[in-house]
Subunit: 350 residues, 2 copies
């Protein structure tokens, strides 16, 4: 099962509607690029790689549905209507613009061969983007799985699985690979406030894979680490600076502190595309503060959990300093400290 999948029979893009999970599993079938843009905007699909692939298939839908008289007219439609609409759906998602631009570049090369060739090229490129993401994640998962031993209990933060990518994911992909290799593992799932992606999505994915888990509140990770109940911590990353500082979902920094304080290895799992060498340290990574309602709009045992007029602060990410990181798992191998050198080397070799 992929979270983003082309349905060749129905000529539509199938997405798992992640807003309904875990209460309900429903796939939607999208037939136009406008529908895809709306699905991205409404967070039917989330996670940078998944959004990128969805937008690429959105371009394919635009190419397929537009009644073009010439390849040039089709290209113009893609460039001036479909691409801007899709890119605007989540303006800060880097993968989104990258995927759309990659599809456009491929479309341009096919223009001399006519309308059908452009349509084929666009769909083919979208499929490649999706397949490459899956392959890259599986490669990363194989590297990461070498770090996991039979019997390990692992803490995992947020959702970094198939639902955040096209399939497999990053940190959760590592865990899934170790499980498929026959290693017996147990996952303590950080619920990951405020949006509870751990509880809602990661727990749901683990059930699909048959991997045993328990949900914990984010603030309980330190307890389990201090009791010697945890052997490894795996997390994803949204951005990695040149010195190895990692920006990731809020709560990652406190989790890293607790792992470090108890000598438990802490591993971010990160595609090399996520490294940003233009940033010397994590201090330079801008942190988005999101709407307070994400914190406030929860109910405990069916009752409102906060005073009616309460205010909240809601930073979406934090920065984990490289000194707390044991190693970074990438699609090109495992990087050990000194991380600045290891990152420079792996990027230079690309």
């Amino acid at each position: 099962m992929r979270s983003v999948e082309w349905d060749a029979g129905a000529s539509c893009l199938r997405l798992i509607d992640q807003r309904l999970l875990p209460a309900e599993f429903r796939q939607v079938c999208l037939h136009t690029y406008e529908d895809v843009a709306k699905a991205i905007r409404d967070m039917v699909v989330r996670g940078a790689p998944a959004i990128g692939a969805a937008a690429a298939f959105g371009m394919a839908l635009a190419a397929m549905r537009y009644p073009a008289r010439s390849a040039t007219a089709l290209l113009q439609h893609l460039e001036t209507e479909a691409a801007p609409t899709l890119k605007a759906a989540r303006p800060t998602a880097v993968n989104l613009a990258w995927a759309v631009d990659r599809v456009l570049a491929r479309a341009r090369t096919a223009v001399p061969q006519g309308v059908d060739a452009v349509r084929e090229a666009v769909l083919d490129e979208a499929q490649r983007i999706a397949d490459e993401d899956v392959e890259m994640n599986k490669r990363m998962a194989r590297y990461g799985a070498t770090l996991i031993e039979d019997g390990d209990t692992i803490i995992h933060h947020c959702n970094t699985g198939a639902l955040a990518t096209v399939d497999w994911g990053t940190a959760l992909g590592v865990i899934r690979m170790a499980h498929e290799q026959g290693k017996r593992i147990h996952v303590l799932v950080d619920e990951t406030r405020p949006r509870l992606q751990g509880a809602r999505l990661t727990a749901w994915e683990l059930e699909q894979y048959g991997i045993p888990y328990d949900i914990i509140t984010d603030n309980a990770a330190g307890y389990f680490l201090s009791r010697g109940e945890v052997q490894k911590v795996f997390v994803g990353a949204d951005r990695v600076a040149a010195n190895g500082d990692v920006a990731n979902k809020i709560g990652t920094y406190m989790l890293a502190l607790a792992a470090y304080d108890n000598g438990v290895p802490f591993y971010p799992v990160v595609p090399t595309s996520t490294f940003d060498l233009s940033l010397a340290t994590g201090r330079e990574i801008p942190i988005e503060e999101r709407d307070p309602s994400e914190v406030l709009d929860i109910q405990y045992r069916g009752r409102p959990a906060m005073p009616a007029g309460a205010t909240a602060r809601n930073p979406a990410f934090d920065v984990t300093p490289h000194r707390l990181i044991t190693a970074i798992v990438t699609d090109r191998g495992i990087l050990y400290p000194p991380l600045d050198e290891a990152i420079r080397r792996v990027i230079a070799a690309a």
Copy 2:
């Protein structure tokens, strides 16, 4: 306003029904010791000192309502019926048994003076227990408030205020005292999963006192600490070992780690009655794991936040090692490291 208060006019015990907060403020008026036991069991009232005072007034209600022919018969009723029922309401609450026993001891001294004297003695002792708790908390709050400067932003964990005691509370009492002294402060309220006492009760109390605050998810404390936005952290404690290790609400340890990593002072506020010198270190403090439903039974934006069959682990407390503690605020002054020596000294001087 006290959370536990004797209503002399109506001859009943008034409690704030904390299960309804923050959505609804309602006081209940209890007329029998059985009602008080039920209120303690159902967590209408919570927090060790509040439970102790409530049980003491429960004894007063038992003495008042029992149609005793002699002081001896009344004492027997108190000893064999009221006391065991009240003590059994929350078997692990140390203050509860202590308060009931203290009332019984006072009752015994009044037996020679007859039934009415026993009734008066029991009510008087209950009132003393409540008043002494308030006085002790205010003393502690005055010590703690000397640590707060005008303009401070303070992180506070769980609920440690008037709702957890008879009035004032521990860590929240310190914050309230500084506010009443005219210091401008801002509180970042850890929501405190799983039961959200920070969001439900502390935010509500701060509104009553007119102290500005923002609720944050527990896992966001590290972000604010790392950005230099926080000057102090104040927490309560459930038990303190001889070496200064502190057992407190789950999440306290990770909060202390984040404060320490950023050089921000971390202060537990603890009545000296909470020190347990029979325990050499925090390792020996038993930690209760509570029902997983406390973690699982939450809703996000009105929808279930966890898969239907999800399992969870739910440790109620964790242990913060003394090395992370800047000082402990007590009712007998502020204790600075080395904490083991300071604790021995203050207990010996009692």
